[in-house]
Symmetry: C2
């Protein structure tokens, strides 16, 4: 279900995303000393490094089912000199962990690829101790807009959204974090938007985010979109040109990520009580 | 060019907007004691009250060309017990002020209605002392998205955008504040997005913003949109229903305002220098 691909330029995309936007996303995510934190689907470890650095006295257990990504994550964690990270090859739907064995769970850019994100959230809830928390991050491609406006650029973005939908995912899942967490039986979900606003006053973000994160990501689905006959080559290419246009000195680009935090109920609900998680 | 109308329900819309979102918008807008601040197009004074309260030792001069709105603004300012506000009936293009007679200018929800916002920004720049600042606020209807997603609701929003465009305005101007300020010859424009994120955890915002600010505003153009044959009644009404749907307990609504601050150059540019304001 992971449709972004694993090529070299893709690695640079993820890295660019990491270096320019990680502080906005993860700056206020800190776990207490001694806590045991599970990272679900760590991929190449871009988020893992932030997570482990921001909570140096927490123990991070991160897993992914893609061995190539996991190898890259291991290199990255080693290069960062982190000693509080354990990396495992595992699948979300067959995890080797005991119930209620984690204080917190961290799920970043994973739900967008799953056909049943509520099932996944309920699954990780079983691994959480009562009173533990889940922290979820997702982007939302429907939150992307830019100056100059371009309907064709939105059509190119729509190709990525449509391909992800056909693969069972949802590229516009960010806005749904609140109902997803509530329906999964977590308590007191708190969702906050994180806007990446980019104009010429932040040339590093123009390059690392507008060009090399967002536009490259859309551009990377060109062949798949053409093969699936979602769009013709000329329209797609014009859309990509218009996305690069938003990276010019008078251009503006906006994209919103969402962070959601919620708690596993501290006590098991009594029979006959108003349990949302039925 | 002000297409929102001036009816009773409209007043409530503006008031709802004011009470629920004013802190997000204006909480960090403060002008120094003794400074003279011009508010352009104060309308019914919803922003004027915040402006004057947040800078109690600044002198606010606010004007509007609509006498009915101005009368309401006078009531509002009196009811708030503010003594630092002077209200004038005047037109932006025929202002009775001397050049360089204000320390700061405040322009809130005005540029969206103008066919030439750059001309307006240059005009108010003449009223500013060198080194003075302009503060601009605008919404952006292209920043609206919601859960559940509804293409028909976006079409209903599009009616408001199209009517405002035909009236010479731009309902998606928020994203353009940076290039508008730069092109108008201001220095160091700094633009920050202000996201109104609404889910069931803030029922006051669900009611005051999702329903009674945004949806009512879109709903208010129904007759004009039908008369202009932009949409048929059934589609429009279905779109409005879907906007109200986003105010249900599992719904989410997002909208972004933009604040821009920029300075009038402290010294007149030397001839032959790199002056952007050519």
């Amino acid at each position: 279900m992971y449709i972004h691909g694993y090529g070299e330029r893709e690695s640079e995309r993820l890295l660019a995303q990491a270096s320019s936007v990680l502080c906005l996303l993860h700056g206020d995510t800190r776990f207490p000393p001694g806590s045991r934190v599970l990272e679900v689907g760590c991929g190449t470890g871009a988020q893992t490094v932030s997570l482990a650095r921001n909570s140096p006295d927490a123990q991070i257990v991160a897993f992914d089912r893609a061995t190539a990504s996991l190898a890259r994550a291991m290199e990255r964690v080693a290069a960062a000199g982190l000693s509080n990270v354990e990396l495992l090859h595992a699948d979300l739907y067959a995890l080797p962990f005991a119930a209620e064995s984690f204080d917190h769970v961290f799920v970043c850019f994973v739900l967008e690829h799953l056909s049943d994100p509520i099932a996944a959230l309920r699954l990780v809830k079983q691994l959480l101790k009562p009173g533990g928390s889940v922290t979820v991050f997702e982007g939302d491609h429907g939150s992307a807009y830019f100056h100059p406006h371009s309907a064709i650029a939105h059509r190119a973005i729509g190709c990525q959204v449509e391909l992800q939908r056909r693969a069972g995912g949802n590229a516009c899942i960010g806005r749904q974090l609140y109902p997803l967490l509530a329906e999964s039986g977590y308590e007191a979900p708190c969702v906050t938007p994180r806007v990446v606003y980019v104009d010429a006053t932040t040339p590093d973000l123009v390059d690392s985010f507008t060009r090399k994160t967002f536009t490259w990501m859309v551009e990377s689905v060109r062949e798949a979109a053409l093969a699936a006959r979602i769009i013709d080559a000329a329209t797609f290419d014009a859309g990509i040109r218009d996305l690069y246009r938003a990276a010019e000195p008078d251009g503006v680009f906006c994209y919103t990520f969402f962070k959601g935090v919620a708690a596993k109920p501290a006590h098991l609900p009594q029979e006959g009580s108003n349990d949302r998680d039925v």
